[in-house]
């Protein structure tokens, strides 16, 4: 029997550093550290601890799973950049997994996966058994229709009565999904921002140019 796939999953898309090492179905190590800031300094040492506790070398990894958001823009880039560097160093695939998919992993489908977006908004994606709708950014008051739906999520500023918690810790779900996809998925992980960059064209227009 060939050795089981060894997958490292991690995420810094919100106020945390999360990492997990899985081998086949088995979760070898799982860590979740809440933190408001300092993810850039903490992430790689945390990953090293996970590898050490799992008794694994970096060269044993089959693939990397990384959370691509949505969430904190800088936080997402911290993990995605590290994952792309690691993938290049180890010559293994890195698979981007959205927070929507990670939360919905192991849930009855279809399910609305929701993530706090702050500024009185929420990120939302409807995930079916085989189909996935476009992710959206919704005004908070528009979420009323979700009351009669199957909903999964954590850490909303105001909760929904019918919200389910994810079946797996975030980094574990990311690693499981990466394990399923890494042989076929080609694209490198890219952040899922949904919200556009905060930038406006200059207010004072240039003068009319006369010949």
């Amino acid at each position: 029997m060939p050795p089981k796939d060894l997958i490292l999953g991690f995420d810094t898309s919100a106020a945390h550093c999360a990492a997990a090492l899985i081998s086949g179905d088995r979760v070898l190590v799982q860590k979740f550290e809440p933190m408001q800031k300092g993810q850039a300094e903490r992430l790689v040492p945390l990953l090293q601890e996970v590898m050490d506790e799992g008794g694994s070398d970096w060269s044993d990894l089959s693939a990397i799973g990384v959370g691509i958001g949505p969430g904190n823009f800088t936080g997402i880039r911290i993990s995605v950049s590290a994952a792309r560097g690691l993938a290049l160093a180890l010559d293994i695939p890195a698979v981007g997994v959205s927070g929507f998919e990670a939360q919905a992993y192991g849930q009855k489908k279809p399910v609305y996966s929701i993530i706090e977006a702050h500024r009185n908004q929420i990120y939302l994606q409807k995930i079916g058994e085989n189909t996935v709708a476009e992710p959206q950014l919704l005004a908070r008051e528009q979420k009323k229709f979700l009351k009669s739906e199957q909903v999964v999520g954590t850490s909303l500023e105001d909760s929904l009565p019918n919200i389910c918690l994810p079946a797996f810790p975030l980094a574990v779900a990311i690693a499981y999904l990466a394990a399923k996809r890494y042989r076929t998925q080609q694209a490198r992980p890219a952040p899922l921002y949904i919200r556009a960059a905060d930038a406006a064209p200059p207010r004072d227009p240039a003068p009319v140019i006369l010949p």
Binding site: V44, P45, S81, G85, L88, P201, I209, L210, P211
Partner: protein, 365 residues
Amino acid sequence: MNTTLTFLGLESSCDDTAAAVVRHTPGSCPEILSSVVMGQSELHADFGGVVPEIAARAHAERLDLCVEQALKKAALTLREIDGIAVTAGPGLIGGVLSAVMCAKGLSIGTGLPMVGINHLAGHALTPTLTDDLEFPYLMLLVSGGHCQFLIVRGVDDFSRLGGTIDDAPGEAFDKTAKLLGLGQPGGPAVEACAMSGDAAQIPLPRPLLDRPDCDMSFSGLKTALLRARDLLVAKHGGLREVDRANLCAAFQQAVTDVLAEKSRRALKLYLSENPTHPAFAVAGGVAANKRVRALLETVSAEFDVRFTAPPLALCTDNAAMIAWAGLQRYRSGARDDMTLSARPRWPLDKTSPSMLGSGKKGAKA
């Protein structure tokens, strides 16, 4: 440490994503095996300046591609690299962070050592990469984000003689281009437009020349240019091409005059230390301006000091300078661990009082 070293450099502190490979054997000249730069001008063109979030988004998805290209052009694999150097500040934090995290991934995955480099040190040490200058030399670093005179005494030993107390000249060139309806980046656009203009037609101030030190200011110059433009627009109902060319020429001349005169003062201070092989080097994007370059060369000749300006590709942001600075810092024992932070502010000279952003977060540069 007398062996040949090959370093990979990563840079993304403003709007250029870059990776490069540099090799050096003690006793011979350093060799740039590859230097890849992916610019972002088109992404920021509509905004009249670099938008930090847009820059960060692009860097995060390009850094590993740049590294792959740099390795491919150098015909090397990561196994043949001895260490990784990464810009860890100062700069736009989102971009700096992406490179630092990518470098950490590369380092932990390969086991290669990593050195965090000050972006300004990269520019300041470039003359030792291109022209074999000897320490101490005088350096004018003049770009879109920085403007300072440094005496470079060693790989990690810099004294700042003075610098801008507000905007950098490159930023002022961009703003000028924006005010006059020229394209971005503003430096080349203003320079081209100034060719047909007459600087004498528009009086603009030469800020801080009345002060004997090496400090500069360019923010008031932008305002003066705006006022001059508005007068002309009001008079003619729009901006005539001839007036636009004159404004460009006047602005460029004012910047050049300030840089030249402050260079004289910096040279006097530098020469008072009796350096054995006196040299004046200029780097940064504004050093690409032919008028600036020519006048600084003239000033150097007045003082009988050797003048060097690295080739354009090594004057503007690039990763070869980071790889080179990292290689030298590594030789002198520098190493960083996986807790390396990205720093938006990071002055090169650790002792001189700060000139910019002296708030609670400390000096910018």
